[in-house]
Symmetry: C5
Subunit: 352 residues, 5 copies
């Protein structure tokens, strides 16, 4: 059964002036702000209110990570925009969903759009925007999802290199979390694939084909998300991006490898799915064959036998066999033999 | 049912000298001219007549937007051509329809051809030509379509940046409107796709396949329009186009992103459609299977039973069962049992 | 029915020394020479004989267009080769047919091979070779085809720019005529496509699939011709080709656009054709279904009824129903009811 | 019926030191050496023995062509290797078969591997290695095949340019012969294609599909051979290859064109073959339909008629029709009418 | 029957700090260390213990090859990491499996990941990591597999060039062994392909399609391994890789050629497999046809005959034929004739 189609069409806004900020989310999520400040030795975090005048003092000796969750109202975004001097088009991109992953370099910051998938049914990308400055990093999420929890935990505990590095490493860590998240989704998809294979094997039904079609769309949506992601990460690794230090670049190469793995798996899923269509179609044919075989066997055995009986059902006055004492038993025996021969023939043909 | 094929073949004009201006539109639309002049502080607009000598005085301190709607007669175009020193081949391109989106740079102006789609049945591209000069912008439309209405409204009201920018920003705004228009068409196509899916699910008919084939052609026509559009916008963004200022270039990047989204959606529609063909073909097979099952069940139950009755319809003189008092009822019961067993067997096989 | 395959295999000449001139055309066409000389003010033309010593005096103040039609004998070509100092390999290319469009630059001239298609059944490319020099242009055609008639007419009448320009513009005009000719062929192919669609809709027959296969080959042959043509024209437009002036280059860009249109249409034909194969296959399945339905309906109605009659055809001594007075009519009525119920059931199932 | 698969797997030699010379040919062919020396005025040729010390004195004033046919034993190759200072890896490449065409430039010579096909059933590439030096050219062939005969004849007779040019022109001439040889093979394949088309039209059998599959593999093997060949020839034409003179380069461009033609034809064969699979599958369906029609017609005519007769075979005591004098003939006539109507119906449906 | 899917999903480690070393192998293999030291004259080898402080003294006058087999525990890897100053990310890559082949250049060493396949059912890549330094080479293998045995033997015996060259040549030799290993796997796959072809020919069953699907995945996994391998080898050959000497580069070109051969064969396997799906589907149709033919022949012969007998089974009082003496035998003979005619007709139609 086809569920709601997963193709995401950007809300159209024909006639609106570009750079106009509007929230067209169907459901509104209250905005939550979490601020984390850290350097090698110090660490502080507090749940911010929309009154964000308190934490815009970003200084170079520590990293400030501002997590904004939920659909921010335009006036709020405009204030942030002024505080960090963010271009109106960037703010517009943040508000409108449905963007493919991309990376844009501005003189003062780096703007990255990524996509997070939380579940596979339906696969629905959630947009994550990242603004990487010299000493700060702002993330915008539409919904609270908890995928940054472990990362925040790591910063809090000071484990790993993250406390010793700048916001570019934090950006890397976020990308790493997001790419790792794809593997979770892929495993889910892989399990669904196995379910479909099992269904094909045991009881192929028309629904199975719809499921395959849906899986194809899921894979397609993931591919449409991960191919531009690859380009984004590649751009961050290769080019002389001002906000990426040399030491982080090596780590980004690692994320790049993972992205390639995601692509590899998606491509193989695609191949498997198109093979499953073949198998489904052939299973349908096979079922048909099985039905035809039964019909053929039954009809082919009984039609000639019925012919014989109908001969002796004729009312001719002079039919010598009818007068014979053992005629009836002879005919029954002959028909038994014919039936046996046919059964043996069909068994040889492997039809029964 | 196949409707008229949508493949647009350029009117051939073998033997005509190139640069010859001719109107080969089947129906003639009267030419309408609308002139809009504006700068940061001033704004004026008037419906022009074909006597356009009054508004060719384009000066650098304001932007003049000349909207020409309808099939302009050759002599009219020639006058415009002389007034703005436009190359004859450009004028020829404007007259003849069926061009793919393209962008050509001339020393005095930039010539852009775009396509607008107004409805999906049939999908028929309407050509929009844009000439961007230092201080003027001319648009040529074959038919009045109203898609520039909101834009004109915005200029009139002075909303957004448009009044502060030159004709290049106006060109951007037009392209933005046109690309946004694709999303409207895409939504239409998406709805038709859903209709086809529903038809496939509930009552697949041979027409459904024709509809899929038509949808494929619609998507194909849109793709053929949007891929070169991407190239046009990419060229405007990347290259050192003389008529594009730095500040507009950022906005064009935004339109480029939208174009990529359109392409993404079209590609996914294409994949979905080719999956639907598979589903249609399998649905046809399934219907067949269902019919075969009924035939098989009926024939397989009654053919053996009829055989039994025909045995006792034989006219042999000596058939002991016929003399038995309960013979008839015994045979009827036996046949009832055989029938029951078969029904159970078929139910187990899930055929009924 | 498959006609003769249209794949053109170059006549093999293994073992022949390269540059050897030989005419391997199956039918010989007598060589005809038409010479046209013109400049802005003057114009003269005469049907030349093979004694071409009279018109090799090409001077820079007028353009000489030598049209050679038919299979020129080797000695004739050699004379031309010496007169215009043409490389032996070029002469060999002119003699042998089956070349794909190409463009080669030599110090003294530009050598262009193009293909003209005259009809679609079968699609048979006819080779047109063009040698463009500083003040002369030679065309070689295998058969007289009349497609250059309108062009010659235009020169004669002095219409358009052609009389004011050099041989490069003439070369452009020839290419324009040839590309426009593709549109004629494409329209023909388009009509055949519509015929096939109609056939599929009304009476799909095995021949229809053969026709689709043939159409596919036609489209394939055209594609194989037009893709390299695109490269040729692209090369002439972009590169610093010595024999192409700046002002002609703009016109060549126009031809290039037309070539792209031809390619677009061919690609869409290809997609349509592969969709038609799906439709054909599904139509065949549908016919099958229709036949199966009739069989199923007839058999399913009458097999149970015949079973009932055969019960009362049994010869048991004690069958109470047989003695009943209204037994016969009761059975007839019951069978009537059963028949009616079945017909209603099948009507509900939409089988009849 | 599937013949031996044509995929050539290089003899594995895991664990062997690279550069180790070994002959792993299944059948050994005795080595034959033919030496041809020529310049513009002189010509000499002799069948060499393995004692090749006599003809290694290659001097610059004439071209020495050493043709080595058969599987050369390692010690022999090593001697040649030392005489002409050939790299061990080149010698290894010569010994082992299954290489794709390639071209490697060494300081002292150019090493080219090509493939020759002698027949199409099965298509089996035979490796030809060419070493082009300043004044010598060595060819290595696994089997004697006679395709160089005409070339040798041409040198002997001094026809064409070959006697006036260096070993690079000889290399060109060899490549020309080899590419021309592809056309012979292609014609063969084309004929087989026509056979398959005829088989499909007249008596499609399961074997036909195997034949198509085999043809696909043949085309695939040829493609795998000719695409790298194109690269080889392209490399020889474009790059500043030290061993290729300017005047030869023009001729190589000619071979390049022929290679493109081969590729074009192969691609079209591939398309035709995949269309033939569709046709085969649809022919199978059509046969099925034909069979089903016969069954349907026969069953649909006789099942209702038999039902009527079985009504009057019932043994009810009171059946008024049985007593009527003309009852029998009336029933026979009615059945005749029903039969006629059905036949007409089926004829209208075009089933018979 | 579908076996376990072979798609390898990297163990996810979302939330872990990058560079964290962990062994997530399901089964632990005890670590084994084999050290081989050699130069032109000297050779020594010993089975090392985890106490590897004894063999880290790598000096420039001999090559030290450290083979580490099994899942090395983190602390062990850290020690090696410090001894040879290896980057933590490299160590992480070594621990985690599922990487595609890649090559990374670090200032002190070259890091190469390769894949080895040991059997085809299932195809399971085993990761081999190579670190090439100035005078040492370390290989990491997950499982002991014996494919380096012959290589080690060659070093021990001093055969070939290997003892005269540095660690780059050893790296080449390892890659050569690994690429040669692909041919072994390919031959295995080729044999399975032949089995499938035989199965298709003699007794196509639904399992066959599953087998084809599985084979497709096997080929896909191999492709996903060998395409990046090609890039790795290409990078080593072309670029100015610091750790590759000029003389080794020539040998790497040889390995590159072999990789291309592997790719060629894999591509042809892919084509063959997709052709086999067609053949399978058509075989299923053919079986169906065969069954239908039997049904049609039997039903078509006996249904009309039964009709005739049932005519004379009617109980009309006045049926003249019944009184005729030879009526019975006449009807029997007529039915015999009709049966014969039908058999001949079906034989002509080639249905029996």
């Amino acid at each position: 059964m086809p569920k709601k189609k997963n193709v995401i069409i950007m809300s159209k806004k024909a006639g609106l002036s570009p750079g106009t900020l509007e929230n067209y989310g169907e459901e509104s999520h209250p905005v939550q702000i979490a601020v984390t400040m850290y350097n090698e030795t110090q660490f502080s975090e507090y749940e911010g209110e929309q009154d964000f005048s308190t934490y815009t003092h970003t200084s170079a000796d520590h990293v400030t990570w501002i997590q904004i969750t939920g659909m921010a109202p335009p006036e709020f975004l405009e204030k942030i925009g002024q505080a960090f001097s963010i271009h109106p088009l960037v703010l517009e991109d943040i508000t409108s969903s449905g963007h493919r992953p991309k990376c844009e370099e501005y003189p003062e910051y780096l703007f990255i759009i990524l996509q997070v998938f939380e579940q596979t049914e339906p696969v629905q990308p959630q947009q994550v925007c990242i603004i990487v400055g010299k000493s700060f990093l702002i993330t915008f999420q539409e919904k609270s999802s908890g995928i940054f929890e472990p990362l925040q935990h790591r910063i809090r505990n000071g484990k790993g290199k993250i406390r010793h590095m700048g916001p570019d490493f934090l950006a890397y860590a976020i990308m790493d979390v997001i790419v790792d998240n794809y593997f979770v989704i892929l495993e889910d998809v892989g399990e669904q694939l196995e379910d479909i294979e099992a269904a094909l094997l045991h009881h192929p039904a028309p629904e199975t084909l719809w499921n395959i079609q849906e899986m194809k769309q899921t894979v397609m949506i993931l591919r449409r998300s991960v191919w531009p992601l690859r380009d984004v990460i590649n751009a961050l690794e290769r080019e002389d991006v001002a906000f990426m230090t040399q030491s982080t670049s090596l780590y980004i190469r690692d994320v790049y490898d993972h992205t390639i793995q995601v692509i590899d798996i998606l491509e193989s899923y695609r191949d498997i799915l198109s093979g499953l269509v073949d198998i489904y179609l052939s299973e349908v044919s096979n079922r048909m064959n099985e039905i035809m075989k039964v019909l053929t066997v039954i009809a082919t055995i009984f039609i000639p036998l019925t012919f014989i009986t109908s001969i002796y059902g004729m009312n001719f006055l002079y039919m010598p066999e009818l007068q014979m004492k053992w005629g009836y038993f002879a005919v029954i025996s002959i028909m038994g033999c014919i039936g046996m021969v046919m059964v043996l023939y069909f068994r040889k043909k492997k039809w029964i």
